[in-house]
Symmetry: C2
Subunit: 155 residues, 2 copies
Amino acid sequence: MLRISKLTDYATVILARLAAEPERRFTAGQLAGETRLAVPTVSKLLKQLHRRGLVLSTRGLHGGYLLARPAAQITAAQILDALDGPVALTECASSESHCCIESSCLVGRAWQRVNLAIRRSLQEITLLELAGLSGSGGHPSALDRGFPLLKRGPL
Amino acid sequence: MLRISKLTDYATVILARLAAEPERRFTAGQLAGETRLAVPTVSKLLKQLHRRGLVLSTRGLHGGYLLARPAAQITAAQILDALDGPVALTECASSESHCCIESSCLVGRAWQRVNLAIRRSLQEITLLELAGLSGSGGHPSALDRGFPLLKRGPL
DNA sequence: TAAACTAGGACTAGTTTAGTACTATATGGG
DNA sequence: CCCATATAGTACTAAACTAGTCCTAGTTTA
């Protein structure tokens, strides 16, 4: 029913690998090898992640990629935004709407609201958790804590 | 970032219109007129909604469509399932996975969990609210109440 | 200066989505 | 009995998006 693109999924896998060794610098080839993804694809994704500020890059010999900040400070929402852009749940909700009947617009606003709620929830999930690195020792993660999806307030 | 298909959005508009007058029987043509959608599209959607049990239909002269049950008993999740089917957030999470490295699978499980959480939240949103019919007099809707997205428990 | 990297963009194939058309079936009225 | 008005189901086409690849340019270090 809801879907994220394959590429976004791949990107998460790549970021998870980087998160596992935050100090180490990986080349695109190394990451491709470890994740079993094709090199061009990994390369493309890393470029995009770099452009969006999620990873640092160094060029030239012995260059490679590095997580731009601790995994705990990278959210699922940021990863999705980096790759798919901030696409709304419905077209009507995003920018200009031509579907100008009242019932439709009410529906649009409702979806918009659901969308916002989902976004908010994705902002609470960090790469640490996606990577399965949120150690049992730490404080309970958002995934386990149970958190409010939809909060009170104006649309 | 997350998206529902146009058709699903249309379907919601149609269902919202039906919900506004639960007693009245609408033909596909009437609904198309009122929602400004193309007749074949509306017709196609209504057929599918009927197959999934969301609307009742009567054939022949003076036939038409009717909500199968009160709008309060139709959830956003049901509408999405009816049209897009129960597609998972990621491919890896849905059926069999060939991406068999550990990090990847951890990621997959995490997405799966997020997916489940979103589903759960969509099950709490009714057509009444989507249609903007949840009167201010009633009890607060799930959209306003704030409800836990992710609950404790095994994956 | 050559080798090993990343940066950026262009291009192609495949899949999905949206929309339309056509045929069959059911109902009710003249 | 027949025709007009509906829905039911299926098949088809066009457009959009996704995934994946390739090529050229720029950067760093031995």
